[in-house]
């Protein structure tokens, strides 16, 4: 059996966040500090991650265990961003998941702004995006183009 080389720990970082709005700022600081990514890689990861995290907080809360683990890593030369959480039964997570890869933007007159662009942006910022709803854990995984 072929053994894999050990993963370089310096090219991986994890943060655990509460499912509250203030966590968006904490995630942005986390993304800004990812030294193993180039500035443009960090920018893509930060923009897409903001959208995913906001959607999890809005559509999947209350989360069981109330925590969202977010991991950034370079794997196979490509930056990845992984979200691990456990949505409560009966939340809107399933609907949220079905919204991938993104619905058409529309103008919301009540809020006086265009909406529905977050997932579209994620699709365009990433190379691949997958959502897995599991019995033990929900996962959202984004892979980005690598620039190194």
């Amino acid at each position: 059996m072929e053994s894999r080389p050990p993963r370089r720990r310096e090219e991986e970082a994890t943060i655990r966040l509460a499912a509250v709005p203030e966590s968006v700022s904490a995630f942005e600081s986390f993304a800004d500090g990812l030294a193993f990514l180039s500035p443009r890689e960090r920018a893509r990861l930060k923009l897409a991650g903001d959208e995913i995290l906001d959607n999890i907080i809005r559509h999947s809360s209350p989360l069981e265990r109330r925590r969202i683990a977010v991991r950034a890593a370079r794997r196979g030369g490509r930056p990845h961003l992984l979200f691990f959480f456990r949505s409560s039964p009966g939340t809107a997570f399933a609907d949220f998941a079905q919204g991938f890869p993104g619905s058409a933007p529309l103008f919301d007159p009540a809020r006086r702004r265009w909406r529905g662009m977050g997932l579209l942006m994620c699709r365009n910022l990433s190379q691949a995006l997958s959502v897995r709803h599991g019995s033990m854990m929900d996962r959202i995984i984004l892979a980005f183009i690598g620039e190194d």
Partner: protein, 107 residues
């Protein structure tokens, strides 16, 4: 930077909004309020050189601002956006809709 700072001043009969910090789903309301108010009054320029994040909520406000400016007959420009702000606009797939200039002198 976790707070959004917006200062407004007048320059050559135009309202100029200097935006510093992240425009995300939890900070965009102040941005929305100030930009819509400015466009209703006069030509408006938004300096985005020091924007550290631009979420879909902020993009949605910018798109509405463009339409409001067209409807009111006022000029609107986005000045020298940061790399991440520019990337966010491009990621919508219709980046050419955003009226970007490199400096206020170009307006």
């Amino acid at each position: 930077m976790t707070q959004l700072e917006i200062s407004v001043h007048t320059e050559h009969h135009r309202l100029v909004l200097d935006v510093i910090g992240p425009i995300n789903s939890y900070t965009f309301t102040d941005f929305q309020e100030k930009i819509y108010k400015a466009i209703a009054q006069s030509d408006t320029a938004v300096v985005m050189e020091h924007v550290t994040a631009l979420s879909s909520a902020g993009i949605g406000v910018l798109m509405t601002a463009i339409e409001d400016a067209e409807a009111s007959g006022h000029g609107f420009a986005i000045v020298n956006p940061s790399e991440i702000a520019r990337l966010a606009m491009e990621s919508t797939g219709f980046g050419d809709r955003f009226p970007i200039v490199q400096s206020l002198k170009q307006i």
